[in-house]
């Protein structure tokens, strides 16, 4: 018996066991996290006969403790004596599965699913399935919702009579009185369908799906949409039209915008599940309707999927479908009243250029990009600018650059500092795409202006920006263009600007290299060590510490 060891080794375990009951929740939590240590010390038999019954009754505790307990029990198989005893873990997990706190219940269900795999088929029938039955017919909604998550793990390995029982229980829960339970059933419908034999998918699941998809509660119907997509992947093509499509079509026109939103959100998955024929005939018109929906949230969700939808259209008819059906709707969305819709569109619209090719892009898409570049909402403009690389591939950036520059300048000078910050973050990317000449000509002055912005966060980001630009364009470019200007700021009357010089030097010294740092930057730093303002002086000290590693060690020793 493990417990009869020397007193020394017992004491820490004794402490842990006592702390399971401590008033302080942190100590209890700590003990629960070390439950495996306690179980090891007690040995498998005492763990089964004493520890587990104690844990079964400890459901009065705080959520974090119960959550930790549910997690621990999922890994306890060996500590109770291996797979032949794993069913002993079921009672405590069963009581955890009835707790009102969703995170705890979900963790308990997760652990039950884990240990179900350790059960032999006989044990599944003798112990596990009765547990599932008890939960499914329990008085409390919480036990019935937990039951929904357990059907799919015990179904595959049990006998056909038990399988019939399980299917019956699931059917009952799908028409439970409480919306909470029906929601749980709807969210597990897809997963359960995956483990069923095809004949039962067709006979049972389809009718359950149809019922849940016309439930009176919006919250149930919208979960049925996702289930529908999973079910569609399981059925052969010829059955889809008859069994699933009518319900999905209904969902796309549901009275509740929340259900339509779900359809829009899952549209790409749906497209992949139903295949090219049904996509052409059914989904294209449905998608058009969602893009024109009266509720902005739905339009935004659909707009987000435009690129993915177009990419996954069958190759032979792709271009025609896009040009005839999708593009007109997209054109409308560019001038939508709601900014979130336009913003969602802007983040994906550039992707269409790769699908449509050069000519179509120039003729049809380019005007749309330019329109969005001039949109009054900064987020829309930002989303366009951040996706320029797709367009670059297809038509080259020159076409856009005429409109691009004013747009960038406007964003760079926007009144809201967060907008200015966002454009700074795109600057290295843009510079890379536009090339060094364009940058020097047009954007250099902007970057310098940011260094003396009112807002510290901007000055800091601008400094970081300079560093990234030097990484892209090289030290020589830096020496010719940036460094003189940065060092010039050291004579600025405003002490904040002088400090910015120091921060720039900190950032640039490493990328510029030893030579530039020693020749040009260091003298400036030394000069500022006699600055009038104390803040500048102690930042000089910090700078010296930072750039020290870059310099030649002899130099450091002599001068610093």
């Amino acid at each position: 018996m493990a417990g009869a060891d020397s007193d020394d080794s017992l004491y820490p375990i004794a402490v842990l066991i006592d702390e399971l009951r401590n008033e302080d929740v942190q100590l209890r939590l700590n003990s629960i996290k070390k439950l495996s240590t306690i179980a090891l010390a007690l040995g498998v038999e005492r763990t089964r006969t004493e520890l587990l019954p104690f844990l079964t009754d400890t459901i009065y505790d705080e959520d974090e403790v119960l959550l930790a307990l549910a997690e621990q029990l999922g890994n306890f198989t060996m500590l109770v004596g291996g797979p032949e005893y794993v069913h002993c873990l079921l009672p405590p997990l069963e009581s955890l599965a009835t707790v009102e706190e969703t995170v705890v219940r979900d963790k308990a269900v997760e652990s039950l699913r884990k240990i179900s795999h350790e059960h032999s088929p006989v044990d599944l029938e003798v112990h596990f399935e009765p547990l599932v039955k008890r939960l499914a017919s329990g008085d409390w909604f919480t036990s019935r919702t937990s039951a929904c998550g357990l059907f799919s793990v015990c179904y595959p390995r049990v006998s056909s009579t038990v399988k019939a029982e399980i299917r019956q229980h699931f059917r009952t829960l799908c028409s439970d009185d409480t919306p909470m339970v029906r929601r749980a059933a709807a969210s597990k419908l897809g997963e359960f369908a995956k483990v069923l034999e095809l004949e039962y998918v067709k006979s049972d699941i389809i009718s359950l799906f149809t019922a849940l998809a016309s439930d009176e509660q919006d919250s149930v119907r919208l979960l049925a949409v996702e289930a529908g997509v999973s079910i569609a992947t399981l059925l052969p093509q010829e059955d889809l039209e008859a069994l699933v499509m009518p319900t999905l079509r209904q969902a796309a026109e549901d009275k509740s915008w929340r259900v339509r939103y779900m359809v829009a959100d899952k549209f790409s998955d749906l497209q992949k599940a139903v295949g090219p024929e049904i996509t052409k005939n059914d989904l294209v018109p449905a998608f058009q309707n969602l893009l024109k929906d009266c509720e902005a949230e739905v339009r935004a969700a659909a707009a987000n999927k435009v690129k993915e939808f177009c990419e996954n259209l069958p190759e032979d008819s792709r271009e025609t479908i896009i040009m005839t059906h999708i593009l007109p709707c997209v054109k409308e969305l560019v001038s939508d009243t709601n900014q979130h819709v336009k913003s969602a569109l802007a983040s994906v619209i550039m992707g269409l250029s790769t699908i449509l090719g050069k000519d179509n892009t120039i003729e049809h898409l380019l005007p749309l990009f330019l329109a969005q570049l001039k949109d009054e909402c900064p987020e829309v403009r930002l989303n366009i600018i951040s996706n320029l690389d797709c367009v670059n591939e297809v038509i080259g950036i020159r076409q856009l650059s005429q409109s691009l520059l004013p747009a960038i300048v406007e964003l760079a000078e926007d009144a809201k500092w967060r907008v200015r910050l966002a454009i700074i973050e795109y600057m290295p990317l843009l510079a890379g795409q536009l090339g060094v000449e364009f940058f020097d000509e047009k954007l250099n002055s902007l970057c310098m202006a940011w260094l003396v912005d009112h807002v510290y966060a901007i000055r800091e980001a601008a400094t970081c920006n300079l560093m990234k630009l030097v990484e892209k364009f090289g030290a020589e470019w830096a020496q010719n263009t940036i460094v003189p200007k940065v060092l010039g700021m050291a004579n600025d009357p405003n002490y904040l600007h002088r400090m910015t010089t120091l921060f720039c030097i900190n950032a640039l010294s490493e990328v510029c290299g030893q030579e530039i740092t020693t020749k040009h930057m260091l003298p400036v730093v030394f000069k500022m060590s006699n600055d009038q303002v104390a803040n500048v002086r102690f930042n000089v000290a910090k700078s010296l510490q930072k750039i020290g590693p870059v310099l030649d060690s002899k130099y450091v020793f002599i001068h610093i």
């Binding site: 004491y11 004794a14 919306p179």
Partner: protein
Amino acid sequence: MVSGAGGGGNDVQWCFSQVKGAIDDDVAEADIISTVEFNHSGELLATGDKGGRVVIFQQETENKSQPQCRSEYNVYSTFQSHEPEFDYLKSLEIEEKINKIRWLPQKNAAQFLLSTNDKTIKLWKISERDKRPEGYNLKEEDGRYRDATTITTLRVPVFRPMDLMVEASPRRVFANAHTYHINSISVNSDNETYLSADDLRINLWHLEITDRSFNIVDIKPANMEELTEVITAAEFHPHQCNTFVYSSSKGTIRLCDMRASALCDKHSKLFEEPEDPSNRSFFSEIISSISDVKFSHNGRYMMTRDYLSVKIWDLNMENRPVHEYLRSKLCSLYENDCIFDKFECCWNGNDSVVMTGSYNNFFRMLDRTQRRDVTLEASRESCKPRQVLKPRRVCAGGKRKKDEISVDSLDFNKKILHTAWHPQENIIAVATTNNLYIFQEKVN
């Protein structure tokens, strides 16, 4: 034979059952009852008071040997729900008074309710504990430590029964979503979401998420000088998860459908009764303000309470005056601010009778189907067990008959603002200033 679901207000004879609260004339401000609510089964009755406390009473299980003594309500749990706070930014005190309590449908062995003050809503869990662990390794049960060297084996604690303990713990706090004072909360039939309404906005919350809420109605005008009406009450439909209703200070009720759009500023239906021009007076606008709106249990009707009447709405609208006799006293009621009193109303279990409070500790029951009504009084004089309540009559003017009380002698400080009807049986809870009266149907 007693019918369970409750018959009409007039076939039923009401008798006194219990009174809770201090029976003396010195009423402490903190003890003033501000809300009363039965839970879905009627087994529990919650009251909230001005001091931020919630008291829950539980109906005892039926005593078979004494069938005439219907189950009594005894204190089950008391806890401090809200504390007074100070808003430093606006230099305003936030009262701890509980404005509303709403029970959640039961989902496991514990009970849950939402309670709100002017700014913050809290979800409370009330649970029972009847077992406790015994057996320490390192100390005796009374706390004395044992000598560590005497430990030779490990001991796992065991659970043993103990006296029943009822614990209340706050599970969620929904704060910082309302600029104005919260007047209503209502739980959706989906058991997942609820709404909270203040003077100008209604927010939709998810019970699991405390850091976000969605604004679904906003009637704040761009220019506050153009403000003409405020929201006075809001409620979700009992079965339709997408429908809710809100009432305004101008006497209108708007029905909104959340399916149609994300922001429900446009109503689906508007209910308004055009005013009788002969009754128009200086006070018309004030007394048309709706103080409470309640759906019937079956969801087909809706009841609203304004100052002088109770109205029941359907496609065929009906309305019933409550204390029409007060019309002549409106001037003095305005002067003592009583005209701004907010009376609540409630339905009985089978939607045949409605009840609302009035002054002088009177309350009224109006039977819809039989079109009759009765006025009863909650007073200390009728406090004998099983004493039947006698109907009261108010005389508006002219010759006062015996047993009637003149409208001029009504005590306007004794008002019954909050009432609740058991969802299945004929048991009612009526709150006077600081007492809770429980009346039952007389059992023969």
